[in-house]
């Protein structure tokens, strides 16, 4: 069964908590696609996931710079490389090939901002859409992979 859930992130701390949870559940081969307007919190969540994974690997102070200009940053503290990509500046999907993301999908851990630039959405990707709402963010999570159903319980706890 497909996974679908919504949650309200009331502040940065809630985003950090979601990042920590995703960092625990994420596995090699997973892709997380982050969509939403500028300032909606995409990079914040990606940073929270990467920093939480890094802390678990015994690295307390990993900096996660914005990939907007470099397009891709990779991190090598997990069993497979972690990719953090921002596709906003890409004009043509052929450029995605040259970044090497396609090769990483399905084996490495890949976090992608502005995934609408992708020609093909990775089948089992976890998609997270951000919308500004009041002082926080409403997020909608969805995936065709049922294993993400394990997030439901946590997501409900965020609203509480």
């Amino acid at each position: 069964m497909d996974f679908s859930a919504t949650a309200f992130l009331s502040d940065a701390h809630a985003t950090d908590r979601l990042g920590a949870e995703l960092a625990v559940q994420i596995m090699p081969g997973d892709a997380i696609l982050l969509s939403g307007q500028i300032g909606a919190g995409k990079s914040h969540l990606a940073r929270a996931i990467i920093q939480s994974m890094a802390r678990a690997a015994g690295l307390p102070t990993v900096e996660v710079p914005s990939p907007t200009y470099t397009l891709v940053q990779t991190y090598e503290f997990a069993s497979v490389p972690v990719w953090h990509a921002d596709l906003y500046r890409l004009a043509d999907s052929s450029e995605i090939e040259e970044l090497g993301i396609s090769d990483a999908l399905g084996t490495d851990i890949v976090l992608i901002e502005w995934p609408d630039r992708l020609d093909n959405i990775p089948e089992n990707a976890l998609q997270i859409a951000f919308m500004n709402e009041a002082d926080g963010r409403r997020i909608h999570l969805s995936s065709h992979a049922d294993r993400w159903n394990s997030l439901s319980y946590f997501v409900e706890s965020l609203d509480a």
């Binding site: 300032g39 907007t68 200009y69 470099t70 503290f77 890409l90 450029e95 040259e98």
Partner: protein
């Protein structure tokens, strides 16, 4: 006699080549203009393809040699950006340089792109080591003490967005054009910097680290509440938002720089200097606030001309000159290194891992 260095740079969006002499004369500096390309994509920079760099590199090198009225046979050494940057771009530059070096038998020096920026004040103004450097551009923001051609001490930097990126995203959020720096600055001129109170992230914390991501978010929230309240933004709203944003960026940079000055002065420099590089250094409000800090703390303020502050190959050739002078061969073995922090002594901050030296 002065030696001639050919510099090659292709680590980000621009393809560049230059000829610089070891006594600091820039004989040519070619940056292949991609303005038309950018415009076609509505300001989005599409230039990431290694292919595009490869196509332009030999033309850039040829033009640089021509303008310098010299030829490959008269060049003494080749300096090339070996990182950090986009892997495809860096690779094509390194391969081009390796081809030229192999074909001519000239020595090849792999240079750090950031070292190129950081050493530019010595090329343009003959600044003496050690000096304080604020490197502030679209993709970078760091404060460094430059102690030698290969000796950099990083005092701090952004933990998220670089200021140039924050300007670009502000421009996007307000429906202004790209690049964001000049358009936001222009709009800010007729704005009131105090109408909106934007946060100064990390100012309450010690150290020289900075953050600009929250500032962008705060701006978007103000924009949205204005739009909700009045069904749109007036010119004045936009100007006030730009002015408030720019002032906040300038404040953060100035205050963190002031802290860096204190650390730098512990080095007891004979002629204390603060130098800036990077495209954001062109912003006059930011420049003015940095100048004030410099004056207040008794430092000389040096800002190289904009063409040498943004990405170029003259700075790469010059970094080659500086390394050659101290008998340093550059990155050895010469490989394309997409991540390459300037300050190898510090714990690697950027996405470092168990594999260590890769960062």
């Amino acid at each position: 006699m002065a030696k001639l260095f050919l510099g090659i740079e292709s680590s980000c969006d621009d393809t560049a080549a230059a000829v610089v002499s070891s006594d600091g004369e820039i004989l040519s500096s070619i940056v292949v203009d991609q303005g038309a390309l950018h415009a076609a994509f509505g300001g989005v920079v599409p230039e990431i393809a290694a292919r595009a760099h490869t196509e332009k590199l030999d033309i850039a090198v040829e033009t640089a040699l021509e303008q310098a009225r010299t030829s490959l046979s008269q060049i003494d050494a080749i300096a090339v950006t070996a990182g950090p940057g986009l892997i495809g771009g860096v690779l094509s530059g390194v391969m081009c340089a390796q081809g030229i070096a192999t074909g001519t038998g000239k020595p090849l020096i792999g240079v750090n792109h950031l070292a190129g920026h950081a050493l530019t004040p010595r090329l343009t103004d003959g600044v003496v080591f050690p000096y304080l450097m604020l490197l502030v551009s679209g993709g970078h923001c760091q404060l460094l003490i430059v102690r030698g051609p290969n000796e950099f001490h990083r005092l701090g930097g952004t933990i998220d967005d670089a200021p140039g990126e924050a300007f670009d995203k502000t421009a996007r959020a307000l429906g202004l054009g790209q690049p964001g720096g000049p358009v936001v600055e222009r709009a800010a001129k007729s704005g009131a910097p105090n109408r909106f109170r934007f946060p100064r992230p990390l100012l309450d914390r010690p150290g020289c680290d900075m953050s600009f991501s929250g500032l962008k978010t705060a701006l978007i929230r103000e924009r949205d509440s204005l739009i909700t309240a009045r069904n749109g933004l007036t010119e004045q709203d936009r100007a006030d938002l730009c002015a408030g944003f720019q002032t906040a960026v300038a404040d953060v940079l100035a205050q963190k720089t002031a802290r860096a000055v204190e650390l730098y002065l512990e080095d007891a420099p004979a002629k204390p200097v603060i130098a800036v590089a990077g495209g954001v250094a062109a912003n006059s409000a930011i420049r003015a606030s940095l100048k004030t800090i410099a004056q207040y703390q008794g430092l000389q303020f040096v800002a190289p001309p904009l063409a040498l502050c943004t990405d170029n190959a003259a700075m790469i050739a010059w970094a080659g000159v500086e390394l050659d002078r101290i008998g340093h061969k550059g990155l050895d073995p010469l490989i394309a290194r997409p991540r390459w922090p300037l300050d190898d002594q510090q714990p690697a901050l950027i996405g470092s891992g168990k594999k260590g030296a890769k960062a």
